[in-house]
């Protein structure tokens, strides 16, 4: 039926088409205006909707922090575990229940500062989990202390004159440890991020996506990024997509004129922990 002559207006509604995948009764969520975490959640939900894996096979594990709250907003089986330990929890879950699609979504402080050792060893073992690491360059929830991802010279509550340490170059670290899938996107690159998440679900082994995300209220307030739009400007001006980038040069400085390199950097097939484990089980005579 034709609607010709109708005045088109925005329609006021109370539910979104993806509400069946979020705990809508807890919305609006706790994140600040302009925080990138809601967009990370949106991309994850879109990736799930577009993936061929049934919703009841997806599991989310988060640690502590603003990012850690994601586990409480997905309408999936989800676990909010101790600080720094979601990767350890996820490894156990995947080993016991290999039929599940296990995804860790947690913060930079949680996963590579407090929980850095689990990160390193899970990649070395090549356990088949997805890690979506939200890097806002800071310990957000506890009051904006610097951590291992804070760029050299960036300010924070514990580095008011500038961070005196260079940060982790996470794609290089994960690639060096043998991860079969390594990507980095920002929350501005929503479709690319959701595509990368979909790819990560298909990977047999450890899949890392580093997600650069605005924290205008925390990190941003110390570093002239006080509003979401300041981050959008930063991303538009500095991001370069290069899937075959030299990862030695992929560290993030946030200095003007120095690029933030994005892409699906590593996509390769590697034997996973579960292959090694099968071999051992066979030798031990535990498998018929």
């Amino acid at each position: 039926m034709s609607q010709k002559g109708l005045v088109i207006k925005e329609k006021i509604v109370s539910e979104s088409p993806r509400d069946h995948l979020i705990r809508k009764e807890r919305f609006p969520h706790i994140w600040c205006p302009g925080c990138g975490l809601g967009t990370v959640l949106k991309c994850y939900v879109e990736a799930i909707a577009a993936s061929s894996i049934p919703e009841d096979k997806h599991v989310v594990i988060s640690g502590i922090g603003c990012t850690g709250r994601i586990a409480g907003y997905v309408r999936l089986d989800s676990y909010h575990v101790t600080h720094g330990r979601p990767i350890a929890f996820a490894e156990g879950m995947k080993i016991v229940r290999p039929d599940l699609e296990v995804t860790v979504i947690s913060g930079d402080g949680d996963l590579v500062t407090i929980g850095g050792n689990h990160f390193i060893h899970a990649i070395r073992r090549n356990v088949d989990i997805n890690v979506f690491l939200v890097n806002n360059f800071i310990y957000g929830m506890t009051g904006n202390q610097m951590g291992s991802t804070t760029p050299l010279g960036a300010k924070s509550s514990t580095s008011p004159y500038g961070c005196p340490e260079p940060p982790f170059n996470l794609p290089l670290l994960a690639a060096a440890l043998g991860a079969p899938f390594v990507a980095r996107w920002t929350t501005l690159h929503t479709r690319q991020l959701a595509e990368a998440m979909k790819k990560a679900f298909q990977v047999k082994g450890f899949a890392l996506i580093e997600i650069i995300s605005p924290c205008p209220v925390g990190f941003g307030s110390y570093n002239e990024l006080r509003e979401g739009k300041d981050y959008i400007k930063l991303f538009l001006e500095n991001c370069i997509v290069d899937h075959s980038a030299d990862l030695n040069k992929a560290a993030i400085s946030l200095r003007p004129g120095e690029p933030i390199i994005l892409g699906n950097f590593i996509q390769r097939e590697m034997p996973s922990y579960h292959d090694f484990e099968l071999e051992v089980f066979k030798k031990a005579g535990w498998l018929k």
Partner: protein, 94 residues
């Protein structure tokens, strides 16, 4: 031969430009401005009204009613699941 003739697409008469119908959930909006700033067609602006938390949600700007091309940039970037777009056939409306 003029350039204009060369550049006319051969499927001009069957090609359709999508029309987006914008849907908003006012109580979820936190007025971050992402949807407004990132819309490639400048379709959106802030409403005059405020929600219970004091934020002004997005509405269609004057004269932009049929400009939305349903690219869904606003929907993807919105951290609050507060805006989404349903695609319609432009020819049905114009």
């Amino acid at each position: 031969m003029s350039l204009k003739i060369i550049r006319e697409p051969i499927n001009k008469y069957i090609q359709k430009i999508p029309l987006g119908l914008i849907h908003v959930i006012p109580e979820r909006c936190k007025e971050c401005g992402y949807c407004i700033d990132l819309c490639p067609k400048d379709v959106l602006t802030v409403s005059e009204e405020r929600n219970i938390k004091g934020y002004r949600w997005p509405k269609i700007a004057d004269g932009k009613a049929s400009e939305c091309i349903a690219c869904r940039m606003c929907e993807w970037i919105c951290p609050e699941f507060a805006i989404f777009v349903v695609e319609a056939d432009r020819r049905e409306y114009e």
